[in-house]
């Protein structure tokens, strides 16, 4: 699944570690989500959406 996590993070000048802290996950998890190697669970996707203040579907795109 594609996502805009890296862009959103870069807009806020956050490092992966900072974002991981805010989401209460490991830094490797942020990296895996950003690179599309791991799709987060629905609760984590909601946490990400809330943190960036945008709807989930504007962050994650399940189009092939």
């Amino acid at each position: 699944m594609k996502n805009r996590l890296k862009v959103l993070r870069a807009e806020r000048n956050w490092s992966q570690a900072e974002l991981a802290d805010r989401l209460d996950v490991a830094r490797q998890s942020v990296n895996a989500i950003e690179t599309g190697k791991y799709d987060p669970s629905l609760p984590l996707a909601f946490r990400i959406a809330r943190l960036f203040g945008c709807p989930i579907e504007t962050i994650f795109d399940d189009a092939p």
């Binding site: 991981a20 996950v25 490991a26 490797q28 998890s29 791991y38 987060p40 984590l44």
Partner: protein
């Protein structure tokens, strides 16, 4: 290394070292006692009790580590247990047949073969497999009860 990983590794090391110490301590203490000071079977009971304590100790840390892990690591570990465990069990089948049929004695005649050894091998192999199957059965029933 991030603090979460450091904490996890520290907990795993404490779990492993502690469990080893709990199981090994009665064996060490028994050497200090005069011979035959324990009643028959007493040593077996003490070591079994120590193993139960070690299992409880390990479970405590496993739960602690599991709760602390983030979802990616939990997912990776679950997948690794499922696929790795399945692969290991599958691989064990031909080895089980080979060793059970006396394959080691066939390779090296110095390795003894007897009905007692065969029985010990069958029980040693079968016990973890059966308990694993039982554990899986209980867990899947519990999950279904919770979810469906």
């Amino acid at each position: 290394m991030d603090p979460r990983t450091t904490r996890t590794l520290r907990s795993a090391a404490i779990a492993f070292a502690g469990a080893l110490l709990i199981v090994a301590s009665p064996i060490g203490l028994a050497r200090l006692l005069p011979p035959h000071s324990l009643p028959p079977g007493g040593f077996i009971v003490v070591v079994t009790a120590a193993a139960i304590l070690a299992a409880i100790w390990t479970i405590y840390f496993v739960i602690k580590i599991g709760r602390r892990a983030d979802e990616l690591h939990r997912t990776l570990e679950r997948d690794a247990w499922y696929w790795g465990g399945l692969g290991g069990l599958t691989l064990s089948m031909p080895l089980y047949a080979f060793i059970g049929m006396g394959g080691l004695h066939w390779i090296d005649p110095a390795i003894p073969i007897s009905a007692g050894l065969f029985r010990a091998f069958v029980i040693g192999y079968g016990l973890p497999i059966c308990l694993q199957g039982l554990g899986f059965g209980i867990a899947i029933l519990w999950q279904r009860h919770k979810t469906l």
